[in-house]
């Protein structure tokens, strides 16, 4: 099993999670004119990366990974390099995979996922952000059951089916990836970059911007993702879910924005 291709499929912008219909508040900034070109879009995406993506999404991905991985990969100073490199070093050892047949872990860890799921529902304050997380999460779980099957995916999908969990995207993504043997640092980095990619493509359509401008933005964002990965790793647990107030207000105002292309 190739972890690289599993990761590529999981983060493919054409994966039908519905990401193309969410702007996570960006559309309210487009309407007010605060975001209107390549430069202002880059500033916004950089701000989104260093706030909500770092303190909420990345931390949630980490906590979900830890819930389903009995032995989280060692993180040395090299950080994310352990990630995909681990496939070579470990020779694809199955014990790195989160979805091992260790039932003891599975039953215990579902409790961890339930607590995380409940906390996310409580701390995603803007209604559209909460609903985006749940819509994309349930869709990701559906995709994962067929295409990234593992015990962790089954356990989370069952918890959602039983109404013990609501089904958040960050958790579904992490559980699906961990089940393919992908480690926490890799999944956090991949989550951040793929979310920024989807947002950039949405903005390129909405502003509109040229395709090359979109690629220049992504090239710049790629240089910023690694520090967000680190910041989310060393984040004070107290700051999990810390919101950026202006962003949050725009996410709330989007609920009653007149002309909308996006659901959030």
């Amino acid at each position: 099993m190739s972890r690289l291709t599993a990761l590529m499929q999981l983060t493919d912008s054409a994966l039908p999670t519905g990401a193309f219909s969410h702007s996570f508040g960006l559309e309210a900034y487009l309407e007010s004119g605060q975001v209107h070109d390549e430069r202002t879009l880059l500033v916004w995406l950089d701000g989104f990366l260093s706030t909500q993506l770092t303190y909420t999404d990345a931390v949630a991905v980490r906590r979900a990974c830890r819930s389903v991985c009995p032995h989280p990969a060692e993180v040395g100073p090299g950080g994310a390099e352990v990630g995909l490199g681990g496939a070579e070093v470990g020779g694809g050892a199955p014990d790195l995979g989160g979805g091992g047949p260790d039932l003891g872990h599975t039953s215990r860890d579902v409790g961890g996922l339930e607590a995380l799921d409940a906390e996310l529902t409580a701390l995603l304050i803007p209604a559209q952000i909460r609903s985006a997380s749940l819509k994309m999460g349930r869709r990701m779980l559906e995709i994962a059951r067929d295409s990234f099957p593992s015990d962790g995916v089954d356990a989370y999908a069952e918890a959602v089916a039983d109404n013990r969990c609501t089904g958040h995207y960050t958790i579904a993504f992490a559980v699906a990836g961990a089940g393919q043997g992908l480690d926490e640092e890799t999944l956090v980095e991949a989550y951040l970059y793929s979310t920024l990619t989807a947002l950039t493509y949405n903005a390129v359509r909405a502003i509109p911007l040229g395709q090359l401008a979109g690629q220049r933005i992504l090239a710049t964002l790629r240089t910023k993702v690694p520090s967000a990965v680190v910041r989310s790793r060393i984040a004070d647990p107290r700051h999990f879910g810390a919101a950026a107030p202006a962003l949050e207000i725009h996410q709330m105002r989007h609920e009653h924005q007149r002309a909308r292309m996006f659901m959030s």
């Binding site: 701000g47 260093s50 906390e119 701390l123 700051h239 919101a243 950026a244 107030p245 962003l247 207000i249």
Partner: protein, 292 residues
């Protein structure tokens, strides 16, 4: 109703020596009036005699800090219990100022327990954080499903010698609301000016953040739509106007946030929302927080 760390209000009559200031209040319903049935204060926190606006049975309680400000290493604890059917509003006498905290962060813990049918409003004066200040506040609410709570907050920066705004290190306000023991809301406000904390997505160039969290079974979509309309009319968008957002929570209730340029508009937004709820839900007049 749960009790913090197994410590009942009645059992504890001595202060925790580690605390800079401590305040414990229990409010019960006696006839039609809610009255303070038990209280304890120590150190740098006091409570003024309950004030009943225009003969209502809904008391206004005012906490005062004779020390005047929070300093590094300070620890404050406030505990409020409202018995079945009781109601109260807790405010402060003046702004809470947090000065430089080189000795370590100042911290305040607020525990609020609301019994069935209880109603609590917390409407403090602004929190002003000065240069080099680090302030952590934890508000833990345990409430019955039919209790009602409104938590207001205003945060701003103090003056700094070089005239630069937002020189404080960190203001972190974490509010967790449990309803019948189940986590319902986590509201995590973090302002860290040195860490991009005043960038366009954080404060959008504004100096004052106002926030109102309401958990109440009556707060449905209709209430939210009407509240939104009232706020849009009272505070039309425009240059320098408050930037206001309101949204439904995952539990019955809503969160309101506003970014403003000064204390006046920040309070105007909060009071407009609180007064609208008082009128709609309780047929009560507007707040009159005379600072005694």
């Amino acid at each position: 109703m749960t009790t913090a760390a197994g410590l009942s209000l009645r059992e504890r009559t001595t202060s925790d020596a580690r605390l800079t200031g401590e305040l414990r209040l229990r409010v019960g319903l006696r006839g039609r009036r809610s009255v303070v049935v038990d209280q304890f204060h120590a150190g740098a926190l006091r409570i003024l005699r309950a004030h009943y606006p225009e003969g209502s049975g809904h008391p206004t309680l005012t906490a005062i800090n004779p020390g005047g400000a929070y300093l590094g290493g300070d620890e404050y604890a406030v505990r409020v219990e409202l018995e079945r059917g009781a109601s109260a509003l807790l405010t402060t006498q003046s702004a809470t100022k947090v000065y430089r905290t080189p000795q370590g962060r100042a911290r305040a813990v607020q525990r609020i327990d609301l019994g069935p049918g209880a109603r609590f409003e917390l409407v403090p004066d602004p929190l002003i954080a000065y240069r080099g200040a680090r302030y952590l506040q934890d508000t833990e609410v345990d409430m019955a499903a039919d209790a009602s709570i409104a938590l207001a907050e205003t945060v701003t920066q103090g003056w700094s010698p070089d005239g630069e705004p937002f020189q404080f290190d960190e203001v972190s306000l974490v509010t967790r609301v449990r309803i019948e023991g189940r986590l319902g809301v986590v509201d995590n406000l973090l302002l860290r000016p040195g860490d991009g904390g005043v960038g366009p997505l954080a404060l959008g160039g504004r100096s004052h953040l106002a926030s109102l969290l309401v958990v109440d079974r009556r707060a449905d979509d209709g209430v939210l739509a009407a509240l939104r309309l009232m706020l849009a009319e009272a505070f039309p968008a425009g240059h320098g106007a408050p930037l206001v957002g309101v949204t439904r929570l995952a539990v019955p209730g809503f969160a309101l946030r506003a970014l403003c340029d000064s204390t006046g508009p920040a309070h105007a937004v909060l009071y407009a929302a609180i007064n609208w709820l008082r009128m709609e839900w309780h047929a009560e007049p507007a707040l009159d927080l005379r600072k005694l």
